[in-house]
Structures are given as structure tokens and as C-alpha cells.
């Protein structure tokens, strides 16, 4: 699949790298005991350390370290047993220390890889350059008062993982697939809730364009995108903007840009000349962060099965299409549901019922799998009734709709409504004889060579049976009687 973008003067290749900031799932902040939960009243989750009072010192929350290691392992990355926290110095009202504690030269996690799943069912590996731990800043609100700004320090000091990709993506769709897969892995691991609306996952997007085969072009960085749609919009806008400039003979400025969600466009935030000098240096309040090999091994051993592994099993062992497998494995809950529902059953049939009927109904009703009344056992029960011929696929759709609303077992619905498939050959033969007798003209036409009429007879029989006749048997007996 070619990702080239054609401009007025020829094709362009898009080069994208992402820096994703993922909020670490933890009770307390990275260097203070204050709560890291979302949604408290302003300035309620602020410790003396967060507010940077004189003489206050950071103490690492080791759970955040474990979460970073788990994430690194999930990205098949190198875990650095020794890493260093640095100070990134700049002044801002929502940065009480006057510096952010981050990891600059020696991150906790090194190179790894992320496999993305594309719409056509294919997959591609995207390189991970590094993952490091850092503190989040607070929140400034400039629109609450005509002349003052309000500061909320609740988020100050909350642990973030900055996950930096290699410039390996070649389209907005790949970038979206990358974020989707990364989010999926983080959620499987339980290291980040992936909630983009609440800001738990946000991306900085680096975009450049070049002629195929040439060196990298000058890139721009668009900051703080908090939805997959915005990521794609920002990339599409940047690609078009850059190509236009280059084709007009201009040059791209290496700069930081902001995305305007209302217009879907980006604009200059600061140019390279205005870039901060962060004066990084190792934080002298903290010793180098050391993790033991044993601890890493223990975390690795306790890691849950990840989407790629499950997907491989689904496509390989179970024979599902890559697309269905990707859809089912995106969320851990869905994958677990599928495993339970399909165990000992027709795997493909269960996958179909999940991706089409179940997901369709959930989408329509706005429910999540967690509050869905059709449990894995119930969906499995429905599939059992299809497989053993008790009901037809068509009847099953009605049964499913009932189950979705009522939460009943498939067997109970079938029993109550008398939807059991008629597989009694005598009864079916009787119905067929009736249909043949009532449509002698059509029978003659059929036997005269009008093959297409076969469907008409099937329809008539099914109608007579109220849809309950076993379609396979109807076919077989009809053919014998008409052709015989």
C-alpha cells in the first residue's frame, strides 16, 4: 500500500514520529504522597513537595517505577537497570519548583517496538526510541478572571511516561493506529487508563515531508493532541501546509506548533530561535534510580498476555481474519470476553456474532461490555443453539435482540417464544408438498428451466414455517421433490 501524497510537482513521502505522554496509573504522585486521582476540587491534591515549599525534597514512588518497567516490557524494550532523573528548568506559574523532574540522558526504558494493525488487515512494526518518567505540570486557567490567572496544582507532580517513537510512520492513519495500539497495550498492562478526554494520554506529533528516497525534511512539532481525530487532522493539515510551502520554493521552519480544535489547523507556538534553554542537569536531590534484574524478571513473569500475542493465536490457531482479531483484541475486556464465549465452540462463529451483532448493539445503545446483559456464557449459549440446529441464524438475531434487552438465556427465549427450528423431515415435507400443490404453474416454469425460481420456493416454505424450518433441510427436500 503506497502512502505517498501527490503534490503539484510530484509525490511526497510523509514522515511522522510521536511523543506520547501517558499518565501512570498510581495512587500517589511520582515524588510526593499526594493523591494522583482525577477530578478533585482545585488544589486539593497538593502536598508541600508539590507546592515546592522551602526545604521540601522529592522521594520516588516506586510503584510508578514498576509501572514504567511493565510498560517497557510490554513494548519489548530494553529496561535500563540504572537511570537518572534530571531537572528541566523553566519558569511558569503552574510549575512550582521552577523545574520539571524528568529523565534526559539516561531514561528508564530504551529501544523497543510496537506493532500497528492497519485497516487492510496488515501489520507493521514501529520503533520505540525510549520511555522515560517525568512529572506533570499544573494547570493554568486564563479565562476565569479579567486580569488574573488561576492555577490548579492537582496535576503537579503526577507521574507521566513519555514514550517516544522513531520517525517510522508514513501516514495519519498509521499514526492513529500507533496511538490506538499503544493505548491498548497500556490498558492491558494497567499502567495508564488511556483516557484521552481527561488528558491521561496526549500526543506531540512530529511531521515532515520529503521526496521518496531523500533525506528527512525539516520537521514541525504540534503539541498536546488529545484525540485520535485531532492527531489525524493535525497531521493532514501539516502535510498539506508543508507540501504547499515546499512546492512554492519555500522552507519549513523547525518550530513548535499548536493545534486549533475549532478549525482543525495548526499555528506557530514558538520558533526554534525562541526555544527554551532548559539547562538540564542531574537532579542532586535524587540518587540514580537503580532497579534489580530480579525485580524486572518478576515483573516480566507477572505480565498479562498482550494483544499481539492474543491476536496471533486468534488468526493462527482459531483461523480468524486479521481484522476481526485486531478488533477483538484491542481491549483486554473484549479479548477475555471472546475467550470465554468461544471456548469449546465454533471460534469463527462466535467472532462473527461478537463483532457484528454484539458490538453493533453496544454501539447503538451506548453500553459498554461491562454493563452488557449478554454475558460470554449467554452469547456462547446462543451460538450453541445455532450450531446444533435448534435455531437458524436468522431466528438467532431475534433471539439475540431479546437477550440484549432482557438478559435471558438464549434457550429460555427460544422456549418462551416457540422459536425452535423445525428439523422434522416429515413436517417439512408436508409443508413443501403444500407449496408445490399451490404453485403448479411455477413448478412447471421451474422444471422448464427457470432455475432462479428455486429461491421463491424456499421463501414460501420458510414463510409457512414462520422462519423456523431448518433451511438446510428445506433446501435438500425441495431439490429432491422438484428435480426428482
Amino acid at each position: 500500500m503506497s502512502n505517498l501524497v501527490s503534490g503539484a510537482t510530484g509525490d511526497w513521502e510523509v514522515v511522522i514520529g510521536l511523543e506520547v505522554h501517558a499518565q501512570v496509573t498510581s495512587k500517589a504522585k511520582l515524588f510526593s504522597g499526594a493523591s494522583a486521582t482525577f477530578g478533585a476540587d482545585p488544589n486539593q491534591n497538593v502536598s508541600l513537595v508539590d507546592a515546592a515549599l522551602p526545604g521540601m525534597l522529592p522521594v520516588i514512588n516506586h510503584e510508578c517505577v514498576r509501572q514504567a518497567v511493565r510498560t517497557g516490557l510490554g513494548l519489548k524494550a530494553k529496561i535500563n537497570l540504572q537511570s537518572v532523573f534530571d531537572r528541566k528548568n523553566y519558569f511558569y506559574a503552574d510549575l512550582p519548583q521552577g523545574y520539571q523532574i524528568s529523565q534526559f540522558k539516561h531514561p528508564i526504558v530504551g529501544e523497543g517496538v510496537l506493532r500497528i494493525d492497519l485497516a487492510d488487515g496488515s501489520s507493521r512494526d514501529i520503533g520505540i526510541e525510549r520511555l522515560h518518567l517525568e512529572q506533570d505540570a499544573g494547570k493554568s486557567m486564563h479565562d476565569q478572571h479579567p486580569s488574573k490567572s488561576y492555577i490548579d496544582l492537582n496535576r503537579t507532580g503526577v507521574a507521566l511516561m513519555e514514550i517516544v517513537s522513531r520517525p517510522d510512520m508514513r501516514s495519519a492513519a498509521e499514526a492513529a493506529a500507533y496511538v490506538r495500539k499503544l493505548r491498548s497495550i497500556l490498558r492491558y498492562l494497567g499502567t495508564c487508563d488511556g483516557n484521552m478526554e481527561e488528558g491521561s494520554l496526549r500526543a506531540d506529533v512530529n511531521v515532515s515531508v520529503r521526496r521518496p528516497g531523500e533525506d528527512f525534511g525539516t520537521r514541525t512539532e504540534t503539541k498536546n493532541l488529545n484525540s485520535l481525530r485531532f492527531i489525524q487532522q493535525a497531521i493532514d493539515y501539516e502535510v498539506a501546509r508543508q507540501i504547499e510551502i515546499l512546492e512554492d520554493g519555500g522552507e519549513i521552519d523547525q518550530e513548535t506548533r499548536l493545534f486549533d480544535t475549532s478549525t482543525g489547523t495548526t499555528r506557530t507556538m514558538r520558533s526554534k530561535e525562541d526555544a527554551h534553554d532548559y539547562r538540564y542537569f542531574p537532579d542532586p536531590d535524587l540518587l540514580p534510580l537503580v532497579i534489580s534484574r530480579d525485580e524486572v524478571d518478576a515483573l516480566a513473569a507477572a505480565l498479562p498476555e498482550l494483544p499481539d500475542d492474543i491476536k496471533d493465536r486468534l488468526t493462527g490457531e482459531y483461523g480468524l481474519s486479521p481484522y476481526d482479531a485486531a478488533v477483538i483484541t484491542e481491549e483486554r475486556e473484549t479479548a477475555l470476553y471472546y475467550e470465554q464465549a468461544s471456548k469449546g465452540r465454533d471460534r469463527k462463529l462466535v467472532a462473527n456474532w461478537m463483532t457484528v451483532e454484539l458490538f453493533g448493539a453496544l454501539n447503538k445503545s451506548g453500553q459498554t461490555l461491562a454493563d452488557c446483559k449478554v454475558t460470554p456464557e449467554r452469547l456462547g449459549g446462543l451460538v450453541d443453539l445455532i450450531s446444533d440446529g435448534t435455531i437458524s441464524g436468522r431466528i438467532a438475531k431475534d433471539v439475540f435482540a431479546d437477550m440484549f434487552d432482557s438478559g435471558k438465556d438464549a434457550a429460555a427465549v427460544v422456549e418462551e417464544k416457540g422459536l425452535k427450528q423445525v428439523s422434522d423431515s416429515g413436517a417439512i415435507e408436508e409443508m413443501i408438498d403444500g407449496v408445490i400443490a399451490a404453485n403448479e404453474d411455477k413448478v412447471a416454469e421451474y422444471r422448464g428451466g427457470k432455475d432462479k425460481l428455486f429461491g421463491f420456493f424456499v421463501g414460501q416454505v420458510m414463510k409457512q414455517s414462520g422462519g423456523q424450518a431448518n433451511p438446510g433441510m428445506v433446501n435438500e427436500i425441495l431439490r429432491r421433490k422438484l428435480d426428482g
Partner: protein, 493 residues
């Protein structure tokens, strides 16, 4: 009352236990002494009410036969330590009125062991200075005077602490030492000061100057008193990530163990131009005393010593420039209002920081900036490593090192204030221990021709304060240093 001021800490503790004196009497004597010496500006704030309250509680415990290591003993606290409910300003205008809700670990330890807080002691602004002349609250006057009768500096940055202990306005005092800020004023004021091994005393609740160098320590009139206070204030603290979980030795026991069989290193590099000849003489005298007491003297070389000062004046300002970024007028302390955030920062920090602090912030910002980091900060860190290696090497053969404490005795107030580089040279013998994280003790050992006190410095292996107390006691005994300053409470002037 004057008699009470003559008791050292160990003596006073015994007298309290025997109920010969009460803690309230002792506290009252020191409060009166502080008032008497108020013109020397030791204290930036007295906490007399609190002192009497704490003393009364001490008396109650002592009456029951209970009490901590320093139960009922009056302690002055350098203003760099945060004390809950009492203004803690690091003697800076920018922390005007800042009153913490929390207590530093070191002072909390002292109060837990029964210490009685007399007040907050003057110091250089943010501990930046070697003469206690950069304090927002004015200079401290050394209780000692030379023959010319000029007001002398007490040294710095813990100038108030050293002067108070010398002048008897505090029995014990806390200090902090980043490049010599305990040891140099101890030498200038004729008292004992210890800079413990980095990590021995928690930095939690102490206003930070240079985090990788700052270390709190005790001031006292003699070595045994110093060991008692150190025993009370030190200890592992999980609130400070650089605190060392190494068990503290029995320091009070170490005092009096002598130096028999000990190997004492004499570094050939600890001489410099402009050194007071009396200092050289005293250093030789110190070697003779230790030898006479049974120690073996070993000539050693610490070849990178001359690079210590330049490295220090890169690393300390670099860390300070970042540590002091939090004083921005947004949340506490001074704020000078302005139309924009950047203007508010600039005006607040220009008004709130004194000249020396601004100088070091600018130096620190410069050496960390892009393009200069490698040449300055990184190189200084490499030098630091080499200095540590120098010490590691010699400590394979010697148990402690004897050096002069300072190149000269105390100088006149105002004499060096306009010459930062000369001021920096005060720290030439003390800075290496901070860079290497080693313990260092200064013991008063004699007077120069002007009648001003001079000190000797002992440096030890990491976490081996015990050897310093043993050797320090030998120096003290041999020197028989009994002179007291004219400016002391109950004294002549």
C-alpha cells in the same frame, strides 16, 4: 546567672539530671545572654516564649528521671532550618514572613531529644557567603576583637551560630556547611564545628543551597558537647532520598579514645599564598600534639586540591540557580506586583535576592546553559570525581587528615565584601570535604598574634565521625584552649 553560662553541654546535662539547675533557669540565662549580646546581631528572631515552654516540659521529664540526650539544653537554630510556626527565611528578603507549617528533620530530632529552642540565628542569605555579611538582617559581629578593636566578621555562612556559641548566647547551635559554612566560622569564632558525612543528617526542611553539598552539623564550645549534639541530630530519614542508612557510631564514647596507633595524613597541598604564618605554625603544633599522643604522621598528597575551589564555584551555583527558582513570588514570600507574569518574576527576584545570591544564580545559570554545560558543569563534575579519588586513595593508608581550617583569622567587617574572589578563598581548605562528601571537624587550637582564634581541621573517612571526635578531643586537650572572647555575655565589653 553568669555561672550557668559557663557550663558546657555535657556538664549542663549532668547538672540538669542532678536537678542542681532547672531547664527553665538555663533557658532564662541564655535568653538574657542573647539580649545582652543583641548588638552583635546573632539572632534574627528570638523564640523566648517557646524556649521557656520547652524548658518547663524538660523539667517535668527530668523530674521523673527521664529525658533525651540534650534534654533541657538551649539550642540556637540557623535560619536556614524550617521550624514549624516560626518564621524561617534563610535571611533573605524574598522569604519575608514565611512561616512553615513543618519542622526540619534535624530540628525535630533535636526537640525529640529534649533540646530547647532559643531562637533563629543569623546567617548569610541562602547560606551564600563566608562572612555573614550577605544577610538581609545585617552582618553578625564576631564577639572576638583584635588589638585594633575593629568589628570582625564571624565567618559564614553560619556566622550567627558560631558567634552565638562563642558569645554564650547559645549553648549549642545548628549550622549547615556547603563549602565550609560550619567549619570556617567555627575557626573564626573559636568554637567546635562538625560537617558530618554527606547523608548523615537529613536535608528535609532545610532551605536548599546546593543539594549535593549541603550538610547540617553541630556547633559547640568543646568536642564532647559536639558529639552529644551530633548524636541527637543525625540519623537516616526516608524523606531525604540522599540520606544514608548507615548506623551512627557511638560518638560520645569515641570522645576520649585517643589517637594511639592512628595514622594521620598531612597533605602537602594545604598551603597557599597569603596564609597567616601563625596558621602554619599552629598546623605544625597540631602535628606535634597528635604525634605526642601516639599517632603516626604520614605525608600524603591530594594532587587535585587546587582545582577544588573552581569546581565548587561551578557546581554550587549551578545547583543553587535551580534550587532558588521556586522563589518566584507566586505562592509564598515576597511578591512585587506587575502587569505580566515575566515582569512579576523579574521584579520580585530583583527585589528579593541580594547581590551575592543574584551573582551565584547568574553564574549557575550560565554554566548550565546550552553550549557551556560540557565545558563548565560536566568538567567540574569530573574534577569532583578526581578529588574524591584523591581522598579514597589516601584513606587506604591514613585514618584521618590534619589541615589548617582557614588561611587566616577573622577579618574586619566590610573589608572583603566588595571582592567576591578573595571572599571565596576563605573556603580553600574546607571545600574539598564537601566535594568528596567527607566529614570534617574544626577545633579551636590557638590564638594568632592579634589574639584571634585559629582552628585546625580534621578530615575523616565517610561515616567515620568517631575518629574525628577521638582525634579532635586530643587536639582540644593538647591545645588547652581556654581563651574566651571579650564580646561574650557576662564578659568585659
Amino acid at each position: 546567672m553568669t555561672d550557668l553560662l559557663e557550663l558546657g553541654a555535657v556538664e549542663a546535662r549532668a547538672a540538669l539530671a542532678a536537678r542542681d539547675v532547672s531547664a527553665v533557669e538555663l533557658a532564662s540565662a541564655y535568653i538574657a545572654a542573647a539580649e545582652e549580646t543583641a548588638s552583635q546581631n546573632h539572632y534574627v528572631a528570638m523564640t523566648a516564649e517557646r524556649a521557656l515552654e520547652m524548658a518547663a516540659q524538660s523539667d517535668a521529664r527530668l523530674a521523673k528521671g527521664e529525658g533525651g540526650l540534650i534534654e533541657g539544653l538551649p539550642v540556637g537554630v540557623k535560619d536556614l532550618f524550617c521550624t514549624a510556626g516560626y518564621a524561617s527565611t534563610a535571611c533573605s528578603h524574598i522569604l519575608d514572613g514565611f512561616t512553615p507549617t513543618y519542622e526540619s528533620t534535624v530540628t525535630a530530632n533535636l526537640w525529640r531529644e529534649g533540646g530547647v529552642m532559643i531562637g533563629k540565628l543569623n546567617c548569610d542569605e541562602f547560606a551564600m557567603g563566608s562572612a555573614n555579611e550577605t544577610s538581609h538582617y545585617g552582618p553578625v559581629i564576631n564577639p572576638w576583637r583584635g588589638k585594633d578593636g575593629l568589628d570582625l566578621v564571624p565567618g559564614g555562612s553560619s556566622g550567627g551560630s558560631a558567634a552565638a556559641v562563642a558569645a554564650r548566647s547559645a549553648l549549642l547551635a545548628t549550622g549547615t556547611d556547603t563549602g565550609g559554612s560550619i567549619r570556617q566560622p567555627a575557626a573564626f569564632c573559636g568554637v567546635v564545628g562538625l560537617k558530618p558525612t554527606y547523608g548523615r543528617c537529613s536535608r528535609y526542611g532545610i532551605v536548599a543551597f546546593a543539594s549535593s553539598l549541603d550538610q547540617a552539623g553541630p556547633f559547640s564550645r568543646n568536642v564532647a558537647d559536639n558529639a552529644l549534639m551530633m548524636q541527637a541530630m543525625a540519623g537516616f530519614d526516608e524523606k531525604d532520598s540522599t540520606s544514608a542508612n548507615v548506623p551512627l557510631q557511638d560518638l560520645t564514647k569515641a570522645v576520649g579514645q585517643g589517637v594511639k596507633g592512628m595514622k594521620i595524613g598531612i597533605p602537602s597541598e594545604y598551603v597557599m599564598d597569603g596564609m597567616d604564618p601563625d596558621v602554619v605554625t599552629l598546623w605544625q603544633q597540631g602535628q606535634d600534639w597528635l604525634k605526642a599522643a601516639g599517632a603516626e604522621l604520614v605525608e600524603i598528597s591530594l594532587p587535585h586540591t587546587k582545582y577544588a575551589l573552581p569546581a565548587y564555584y561551578i557546581i554550587a551555583p549551578a545547583e543553587a540557580s535551580s534550587n532558588l527558582a521556586r522563589y518566584d513570588g507566586v505562592r509564598y514570600g515576597l511578591r512585587v506586583e506587575a502587569d505580566t507574569l515575566d515582569e512579576m518574576y523579574a521584579k520580585t527576584r530583583a527585589a528579593g535576592f541580594g547581590e551575592e545570591v543574584q551573582r551565584r544564580i547568574m553564574i549557575g545559570t550560565y554554566v548550565l546553559s546550552a553550549g557551556y554545560y560540557d565545558a563548565y558543569y560536566l568538567k567540574a563534575q569530573r574534577v569532583r570525581r578526581l578529588i574524591r579519588d584523591d581522598f579514597d586513595t589516601v584513606f587506604r593508608t591514613v585514618d584521618a587528615i590534619l589541615t589548617p581550617a582557614t588561611p587566616t583569622a577573622a577579618f574586619a567587617v566590610g573589608r572583603k565584601v566588595d571582592d567576591p574572589v578573595t571572599n571565596f578563598l576563605n573556603d580553600v581548605f574546607t571545600v574539598p570535604a564537601n566535594l568528596a562528601g567527607l566529614p570534617g571537624m574544626v577545633v579551636p587550637a590557638g590564638l594568632n598574634g592579634e589574639g584571634l582564634p585559629l582552628g585546625l581541621q580534621l578530615l575523616g573517612r565517610p561515616f567515620d565521625e568517631a575518629t574525628l571526635y577521638a582525634a579532635g578531643q586530643v587536639l582540644e586537650d593538647s591545645a588547652g584552649f581556654t581563651a574566651t572572647p571579650t564580646g561574650r555575655a557576662g564578659g568585659q565589653s
